[in-house]
Symmetry: C2
Subunit: 440 residues, 2 copies
């Protein structure tokens, strides 16, 4: 007799599988596939020796080793919190006090992703509204769907999120009486995942000003996801939106060691308005009493010794070369296809490609089928859009240059070119029907 | 002008600070205090050399090191999942297949605490019912409060959870029509936190049988929190409740490397009915894409080399001596106080003390005040009870022997004896009023 059925929570019913997981599985099952889909990092440049040295150093001192292997605090290792705070301030040309910040406003987490998930939980009731870029980061959309939030999106252009469009949206929400449900504006403002676009210098204070101005009955927070800030390959560093929030009232800043150092250390951090720290720590305490203590101690040593900065400098060279290889291959292979365009990111790990209008790129599309036949994988751009905000563009794709080697990047683009050519031909019998269910 | 107020979620409003955090702060602020409160582990025996060797080993192999520093999977490192599954089965004298289990039923997490929190999220809607031992684990109560669950408790005796009382409760819930809201029975069945009591051999299959029998419209799961199973100081190992669940339908087993190895590695694992794995991974993916990969690889090496087993064997000696020191000191100091009694745990880290009826032990009690004056800290027993289930015993306390040294344990008990003596005297002027607000 089968057992009685499981009754899951509403939360669980709203929590769907990340669409990317299916793609990752495809890539793992077919090693010949060139994956421009996975958001993993470059494997060859992972700092194995640096971490080995930090671990040997830390664990050769019995007292320090024991402290790293004991429980830490929910908030995180104090020297590490102090260092990341000073680094953020310094990269904005400020001291922490200029932003009304102390290390007690910093929380270390199990990657910045954990902060996104916990912030969703502590801020959002079902029906609450989050404003985000279109397209936006896939996984945070999942989080928001899980807590039952409504995601309304704002277009981007080459200067990042369109702040005029944001203002129009806020005005509309005000008129419709929905403003009190707006809790959060989410922006991935440095070399955005998925488009590679960056919020311009001019728009940064403007974004904060809008959040302030429309904070009527309740505060509208900005979640500034700066996961890729350190991976900058050209141009000047831009000040964080956080740096304009001099009273530490509106901006939650999140960052991670996963991209600029090593995902396996699974450590990120957030810098938050003080009133949010307590609620965040209470929920985080229920989840884990604090993130992995050993890797916090290792990262503290990597920062203190300078090994971290040296590694980031090397990593920039590695990824700049990869970005250039991808962009050059796109320019070369698609030189005869002026209706295929793409972004030119100044940092990060992603290029956004736009195919001709009408050429769908979704998991069941001819293009995806052709790409898999050719042996290349991308992430369908439609995953970045919210269906609540009008027609979803279905002819876009995220191309990641994190994992693939230089040669693979060039080969991947050649394969993509052949796939686009094949998907451009008049559809044969059953071609559309023979869609790629496997990628779903 | 102050900023507009923050509007937090209902979830956040239900999530309260763990009462123990205030106690931990007190202990940190006063190093002369003997803390019998903190649930930390023995510091001297932390496996610094073993972890140093495993790290040197792992990170000296470039490919292995890179794999550990790259993203892992949400489910966890496959060799580690396989090892922990075989270990559980072997400790129950079984093979995984005997329990219808494969490594794909195992999920690695950021400590077993993360599993408790995520399971709360995927199983429970506000108003759903969880049945638990009285008293039960403080932090899981916080989790359940956060998701809005109702916790109904069942008394314990020297054989652990009273399964007859559980059956009566299930029958009452059936009659009142509340049975469909019962989702989970939570048991910490090995050397329970907080009482040190263990569910007897006879009651184990009976517990499963009750969960099966009352699973009418929906399945009642058992969450078997076996965090302390490996820390056994006497007697035979008892089969897990999981070992009776031969079709893998009812029992979620959770365990951790924090207590038997090192909390700083912040790694635990769960073994789950297959239908729960997908929902759990979806939510966990939104939280972190998988737990710290480096420490999973380190633990896999510690298990493979035998260093882990050797460490657990040593740890048993250390904690057995500590338990004995605490029990002997209690017997010595309270030999003239027959109305003070305590449990005699066969493993784990906790002893449960019961003071005379009427001698309150709460954070504002005369006893707590006297204990702080004497320089000893315990956890008030009332934190383990749910006020929904009748009068809360207010004269109990959890005494942990994890952190304190042998000498500190003896000294702590001497101080506790003096505090009990002082709290037994007729109350002087203002004595009751001068309660210890600081401990709250």
């Amino acid at each position: 007799m089968p057992p009685a059925p499981l009754a899951l929570s509403s939360r669980s019913e709203r929590t769907t599988d990340s669409p990317i997981n299916g793609l990752i599985r495809l890539a793992l099952e077919n090693p010949a596939l060139v994956s421009l889909a996975a958001g993993l990092v470059d494997e060859e440049s992972l700092p194995v020796e640096e971490v080995a040295d930090a671990a040997a150093d830390l664990l050769s001192e019995p007292a320090a080793g024991r402290a790293a292997l004991q429980y830490g605090t929910v908030m995180g290792y104090a020297p590490l919190r102090e260092k990341v705070l000073h680094r953020l301030a310094a990269s904005d040309g400020l001291r922490p006090a200029d932003m009304n910040l102390t290390p007690d406003d910093v929380v270390v987490a199990t990657g910045s992703q954990q902060l996104l998930a916990l912030l969703g939980d502590i801020l959002l009731n079902p029906g609450d509204i989050v404003l985000a870029e279109a397209p936006t980061y896939f996984v945070f959309q999942n989080v928001l769907r899980g807590v039952g939030a409504r995601v309304l999106t704002v277009p981007m252009d080459e200067h990042g999120l369109d702040v005029d469009a944001l203002e129009s949206l806020l005005r509309r929400l005000d008129r419709s009486g929905d403003l009190p449900r707006v809790k959060l504006i989410y922006t991935c403002d440095y070399y955005q995942n998925p488009t590679g676009l960056t919020l311009s210098r001019e728009r940064r204070p403007r974004l904060l000003e809008l959040a302030r101005r429309y904070s009527r009955t309740n505060r509208i927070l900005i979640l500034e996801d700066a996961a890729h800030r350190e991976l900058r390959y050209e141009g000047d560093d831009l000040p964080s939106v956080k740096s304009f929030d001099r009273r530490n009232e509106h901006v939650v800043w999140t960052a991670t060691f996963s991209k600029p150092c090593a995902p396996g250390l699974k450590t990120g951090y957030g810098i938050l308005p003080r009133e949010l720290v307590g609620p965040l720590l209470r929920l985080k305490g229920d989840h884990d009493f604090g993130s992995n203590n050993l890797t916090q101690h290792l990262l503290d040593r990597l920062l203190a010794s300078g090994a971290y900065d040296a590694h980031v400098a090397r990593l920039r060279q590695v990824y700049r070369a990869k970005r250039d290889a991808l962009l050059e291959a796109l320019a070369e292979e698609f030189r005869d296809a002026p209706d295929v365009t793409w972004t030119r990111p100044a940092g990060g790990l992603y290029v956004w490609a736009m195919f001709p209008a009408g050429m769908e790129s979704g998991p069941s599309s001819r293009l995806m089928r052709a790409a898999l036949d050719e042996g290349v994988l991308y992430v369908p751009g439609e995953y970045g859009y919210s269906p609540a905000c009008g027609p979803v563009p279905r002819n876009e794709a995220r191309l990641s240059f994190g994992v693939a080697s230089l040669d693979q990047l060039r080969e991947g683009v050649r394969r993509l070119r052949r796939a686009v050519r094949s998907a451009s031909r008049p559809a044969g019998r059953n071609a559309a029907a023979a869609a790629c269910a496997a990628a779903q």
